[in-house]
Every structure is written in structure tokens, then in C-alpha cells.
Amino acid sequence: MMIKSRRSFLKVAGIAAIGMGAAPVMNLAASESQGSALPKMEKNEEALHAKRWGMLIDTSKLTEDVVEAIKDACHKSHNVPDFTIEPDAEKYSGTRPVREGQEIKWIWDEHFHYAFPDKEDEFLAEKFHDLPFLVTCNHCKNPPCVQACPTQATFKREDGIVIMDYHRCIGCRFCMAACPYGSRNFNFRDPRPFIEETDPDFPTRSKGVVEKCNLCAERLAKGEQPHCVEASEGAIVVGDLEDPESEIRHLLAEHYTIRRKQSLGTEPSVYYIV
């Protein structure tokens, strides 16, 4: 029979308590030596980074052909529907005819006096009357569409791109009302019958969501320049507005540029050399 004194009991209890406290520490040390067991989600190494992406469009380099090429490159690769085409009768039988004026566009040409209504002077230089001005989502620093979106389907990414999560869009179209640039379009119907050639590298949209330019986030992630830049023959430059050494900032320092509807305070990130 063992007789335990209170003293020896407390000694054993104390050692046991230390042992229990040490176990988690030992486990942690052991797991660290094996490398982290949690999955990792990272950006691609080749991805292009910026603090705030911006776009500069040199309107003097824009010709009708270049504008068409840019629109085409953007819309084809993003599976933007074209409601002027006849849908494939076999594949999409029973497609309702399109109501006139329905369109979806990510980047398009606009007359100066529509693109810059606050800059229209009585005696505007002649050339501005027929120059094609390319307009798209301005990826505003202070985007009203983001504030309007009730589901956070539209949001501003940390690199300044105003982008949509189509999964979350409930089709309320508040963002369309909020955007002063008309950069957003609603899919009133299934867009698929009106996509001539579906690009497998980008999803289509479904009926009932709003869509707009995403500044080719999917290409920036692969280290490539946006489609519009590649098709623009030097007319469009996309770069980091917050980096004073970037090409776009050098160009902005050299040229007089304007932005659309600056007075609204949305701080557009698309600049125009005129």
C-alpha cells in the first residue's frame, strides 16, 4: 500500500500540468517541420500587378479600322453577344426575335459630344465632331455602381479594377442606374444564341445578369496585356496609375488629357489624349 503525502501528490500534479501544456507546442513544432498542411491559394507568378490600374487612350491614333479591331477583339474573346446576328436555327430553335435597340457592349465608339457632354463648346474644333472616341468602363476610383450594388456582386478589387462576380448578380440593375457612363448592360435574355463563336477561355453570361468590361482581369492574371491594348496598335496603354515610373504616368505627364464627366467625382481611371 502506498501512502501519498500531499506534497508528493502536488509534485506529480504539477509535472503533469506542465506536460499537458507542452503537448500543443510540441505538436505545432512537429507540424511545422513537415511543412504547412493547409492548402494555399496564390496569384500566378507571371501575373501583372498594379496599385491602381488605369487606361490611357490616344485619340489621335484611333482610326475607324483600329476601333473596329479593338471592339471585335474584346467582344469575341469575352463572348459578348451580338444581337444583330441570326441565331443558329438548328441549335437554338424557337429563339424569339430581338427587340430593336437591344445591345450588350464592353467597349464601343461614341461621339465626342455624348462621351464628354460637359466639354462641348460652342465652337468645338472641327475634328472632334467625327473622331471616334472609344469608351468603356472607367474603373472609377470612387465607383457609384459598387455603392449601389446590394449584393456586392460589383466590387472594386484591391488593384482598382471594378469587376463583377456574375454568380452573385441578382439582376436588380441598380448599378446601371448608378453608372453615369452607360458602361453596363443587362442580359434581358440568354446571350448564348447570339454569340457567333464561343471562346472557350472565357465564360458566357446567363440571362438576368448585368455585364461590363473587366479590364481583362483574366489576362492580367496570366501576365498578358488586355485585348484592347493588343489590338489598338499603340493607341491604348494600360498601366499603374499609382506608380510614377510607369509608362502610363510618363505619358500622362507629357500630354494634356481629359476624363469623362470628371465633375461627378467618380474619379475615372480612363484618360484621353485629345
Partner: protein, 127 residues
């Protein structure tokens, strides 16, 4: 009289069993590993986790890609994947080439209709 009623009652109560006896039931189809997936045999998670959790995984992937621009996933098994349903070699469909036999067969059996393919495209279906 009571006995006859009881017999009818028991027959009626056990009707689901009679129904099963006279109809044939299909076993749940197994997702088929074809092409690249059959060779590589290393998925994002292990088989059973993948069966039970793939929808949650896709949900996490979606948020990561769209919101954080993080498109590269390194799993606990050390393999790296492109977080994409259908674009590129290293995406879900890049490896599991046959959507009908891999996704649809189970989804049809379980009577779930995920709306992934309303927007995402199956490269095989685009001629």
C-alpha cells in the same frame, strides 16, 4: 374479419417493399475517370473528400479567383491546380475531359441541377 383487415393493412403498409421488388433500381453511377484524369489519379483533395466537398471547394475557388485574383491552388498533397472550371489544361475539365460522364451522370442521378454551365462552357461542346 379482423384477420382479413390486418392482412390488407400489412400489405398496404409494406407497399414500398413490394414496389421495390417488382421494379429494378439503378445503382448510383460512379463518376468515370477518363483520359488525363485516369492517368494522373491525383486530384485536388482525396477521392471521398472530393465527392462530399467539391461544391464547397468550388465556392471557395470562385471567391478566390474573382475577388482576390488568386488563381493558383496548392493542395495539401502538394499538387498545384489552376482554379478554373473549364479553362486550360490544369482546370477541372482540363483533366476530367468528359463532362457528361464525370459531372452529369451523378448530378442527374442525385437530381441536382447546378447552374455552372449556364455560363461556363464545356470546351468539348464548342465545335
Amino acid at each position: 374479419m379482423i384477420m382479413a383487415g390486418l392482412v390488407v393493412f400489412v400489405l398496404a403498409v409494406l407497399s414500398p417493399f413490394w414496389f421495390n421488388l417488382i421494379t429494378s433500381t439503378q445503382a448510383a453511377p460512379k463518376p468515370e475517370l477518363l483520359g488525363k484524369a485516369a492517368k494522373v489519379k491525383k486530384c485536388v483533395l482525396d477521392k471521398y473528400e472530393m465527392r462530399a466537398e467539391h461544391m464547397y471547394l468550388l465556392d471557395v475557388w470562385r471567391d478566390s479567383v474573382v475577388r482576390d485574383a488568386a488563381r493558383k491552388y496548392t493542395g495539401t498533397n502538394g499538387e498545384t491546380f489552376n482554379m478554373s472550371l473549364s479553362t486550360g489544361e490544369n482546370s477541372c475539365l482540363g483533366c476530367h475531359e468528359d463532362k457528361a460522364k464525370f459531372c452529369d451522370s451523378c448530378h442527374d442521378y442525385a437530381s441536382v441541377s447546378p447552374y455552372c454551365w449556364e455560363c461556363h462552357t464545356n470546351p468539348k461542346e464548342i465545335e
